[in-house]
Amino acid sequence: MTKSKAAFTFACRTLGKNPSLYLWTFTFKDVIAVKDTRKRWNYLLTLLLRTWPELCGIRVFELHPGGHGLHVHLVTNRFINVNQARELAHKAGWGRIHVKRVPSEKIGYVGKYLSKKRPECLKRWRLWAGFGQGWEWTKCKDVISNTLFSRVYRACKDWRGWEGRKGFFKRIAFTWQMTFKTIENGWLPGLGPNGKPYWLCCEEELDYNPQPCNAPF
């Protein structure tokens, strides 16, 4: 799972606290360029928010595997008239639209496309985003990941007094070496032999040579 998918899942949980959720799908009749699709989506979203100012939800871009171009999935928290929405969609240049009610626990289904390999034409795109006022959705920068590597990194940072960005790649390489030792020797994450913090361990225990050298660790 990536940070983006985790943030999406958190945002879905926040939105899922509403009792009724609706899954919309907007498609095009013809296959058009991905960039044009984005412009048309912005236009449609503007029209929707002007008509229903309290509307909020999450939108996800999906590239249809059958080669039919870009689709947009939308999860909203309130009922909006599908006929009105269809008129607005036609005005914005969209084709077929579809809507159905979804239970809040199934909302994560929309995020399945975030796990798949990203198509080349969608590189550097914001695949999903929240919209609407009155709610704060979780963004990637709001998510902290906690893994073996990050625990070892934090322990090394405290031990070695790392500050700023200087020597980033050397720090990463050093953290990997400490992670390898942790795995090989069965240490607890972020701790040395016998559960001692790194700063309490001597060089022989950590098999660590403080002198810089070009040889592998």
């Binding site: 958190f10 709001d142 990941s145 906690n146 893994t147 790649f169 090989e184």
Partner: protein, 155 residues
């Protein structure tokens, strides 16, 4: 898995890594939402494989998503022995900050790689392997003599 079977897998184009197994650890991977405090957590295994690339020894990190039934890292078991030559079938691999990270193919397990001839010899029991049907008769046993006793004829 024998080396012959391994070659067959390679020729079929499967993505795999062979190296010396150095250890595994179960890790609880967590994503924490700073705003709400909610957590998404799951247990995964991290395997360490040592192999030679470009003439020097390197370690490759292989991640494996463990079943949902394993809720804590302490519940995971790794019945592999350090030092064994093992093969890992991969779903994908990527370079990140000069470190190779790989992801185990779901549904596959690491396997020990055995030498095909040694395995066959071991199965036969005394080191003799029965020849298949239609095979030519074995050559007569050679009589080895020491070189110093062999008469040296001038050319």
């Amino acid at each position: 898995m024998t080396t012959d079977e391994l070659c067959m897998e390679m020729l079929q184009g499967r993505l795999l890594l062979v190296g010396e197994y150095r250890g595994s650890q179960a890790d609880m991977k967590e994503y924490v939402d700073k705003k709400s405090g909610e957590v998404i957590a799951y247990v995964r295994a991290i395997h360490l494989l040592e192999l030679a690339r470009t003439g020097r020894l390197e370690r490759v990190v292989i991640f494996e998503r463990l079943p949902v039934s394993i809720r804590q890292p302490e519940d995971a078991e790794f019945p592999y022995r350090k030092g064994n030559r093992m093969v890992f079938f991969l779903e994908s691999a990527q370079w990140k900050n000069d470190q190779l990270l790989a992801f185990l193919l779901p549904g596959s397990k690491p396997e020990i790689v055995e030498d095909a001839t040694k395995k066959a010899a071991g199965e036969a029991g005394n080191g003799a392997v029965d020849a298949p049907e239609g095979a030519p008769p074995p050559a007569p046993a050679l009589k080895l003599v020491l070189l110093e006793t062999t008469p040296q004829h001038p050319l």
